[in-house]
Subunit: 328 residues, 2 copies
Amino acid sequence: MDIKQELKKRADFFDKQLEKFLNNGTPETLYDAARHLPFAGGKRFRPVLAFLSCEAVKGDVVKVIPLSIALELIHNFTLVHDDIMDKSKLRRGLPAVHIKYGEPTAIIAGDLLFTKSFESMHNIIDDLSIFKNVEYGLIDCIREICEGQQLDIEFEQRKIVSEEEYIEMIRKKTAVFFQYAAEAGTILGGGTKEQANALNEYGVSLGLGFQIWDDYLDISSDEITLGKDIGNDIRNGKKTLIACHCLSHATGDDKKILEKIYGNQKATEQQIKQVYEILKKTGSIDYAKKTAISFCEKAKEALEILPETEAKQILLSFAEYATEKRIK
Amino acid sequence: MDIKQELKKRADFFDKQLEKFLNNGTPETLYDAARHLPFAGGKRFRPVLAFLSCEAVKGDVVKVIPLSIALELIHNFTLVHDDIMDKSKLRRGLPAVHIKYGEPTAIIAGDLLFTKSFESMHNIIDDLSIFKNVEYGLIDCIREICEGQQLDIEFEQRKIVSEEEYIEMIRKKTAVFFQYAAEAGTILGGGTKEQANALNEYGVSLGLGFQIWDDYLDISSDEITLGKDIGNDIRNGKKTLIACHCLSHATGDDKKILEKIYGNQKATEQQIKQVYEILKKTGSIDYAKKTAISFCEKAKEALEILPETEAKQILLSFAEYATEKRIK
């Protein structure tokens, strides 16, 4: 099975639905700003995960369309607001919304995407109690994303963040969305409570594996050149699993050097290299790699109770792809 | 009847409900930021309007509590984000959220208030189809508020804005919220379709009257001193009904002076006085006053079909209070 092909097939189907839903409106500038990111591409992982979860319980994917649109719009709303907070200039190879349309319009465009995601949820044709249940899940999910985003901001200012705290932060900021997409997709597909729990477990583990693998890729793909990305993360004191592990496991001189340099904006190239060597020596890079793979294994195990379907095979491959084959 | 007393009684009842709902949470800083404005006072007009509309159709106000909380949280969410956009430093006599907690946390706090308002809506204990209907109204209302906010930004950059365009902008930015509060309060109170339409009409007319009266108060209360507020509005090219009327009704030299000075950041004190005289001479200040009163009359007329209740009397007095007695 060509996993990329299978994901793309569903992403293309999703794109057609999004095109139908997210129309122009007035004032035009506001709608242009709101449409800027959703139509600038993106891998559509969240909608695709919702479709696959529905398929895995032999449900009708048409029922999942409103949810899939809501998921992608919420994801995009958080990106628009995050880019303002982080003062990021580029996103998906294009100017960020606040760069192209100004900060005020970008804030409103994010708010509009938030609103439109709930508008989409109201297109769910299911039983009203299922609609209410699934919509409440989305509300809970967004609350956790807000909390996770705030934790991420606060962690940058802290010297030490435990591994447990880091996992909790990325669970809220990233994994909760995969968790919700998979569970809600299952519910709308008519899955049982047990199946919904299994997909919930799959989603959260996949999300955690995904994010930790990203951290690992950032540092390992940069290994040869030891380019500016690692340098920036070290200077900004960015708390990845690698950093959290190393800051709590390094000892003696290594610990002292780490505490002095990690989060020091004025760290020299020489010092960055020194930190990198300590990250390797303490086994932190390897630890992150193993942790990501182990979360993806856990994701796969969660699917055991599902009937044998093509969707199940794709979900299993997706969990492997998330760590082994995926390049950011 | 003491209208202020009647409004305050219901605002106090509301405050107790809000205190119960909007709890602390983690991360603490985020929840402190989100609670900053809602607990800094405010007149609670939207919740009170929802309660009164429910009472006017002899409904049980307890059923309106989740809606009233949602209304106030959405109102506060828009204030948090608006203050960032406008770079306002103060709100309700306290530092704005982004001044006290920084812009990133303020953006997230606004998003969290948005989320919590939908969480509150899910506490509606009514029939599921009524819940869905009322919640959809809220979504529609927020979409219009986003559109109105963007129009307001765009109008500042434009030379001429017609009266119709101005009315449409404030309808979306302000009045739609009163409109929705009144209509949804009636529906949850078990009112008929005809009653819901009447309260809808009352809400939108009251909202328009309210906003135009604010514009009028800004300029007339500043009349003696001709203080810096009028000066700033004129220099920023702020489009109020007074400005829109004057820009399209002034003729000859007046028109030329107006076009030259209105929106000119470098206008002198002398020029500001000149513009003020033209606003008076063209009858634009008086026109705004009359328009505000006429919208409030329209609001009162809409209530004719309602049964005689204390709530109806309060709503009638509220519409008078909105223009005749109210001081900002």
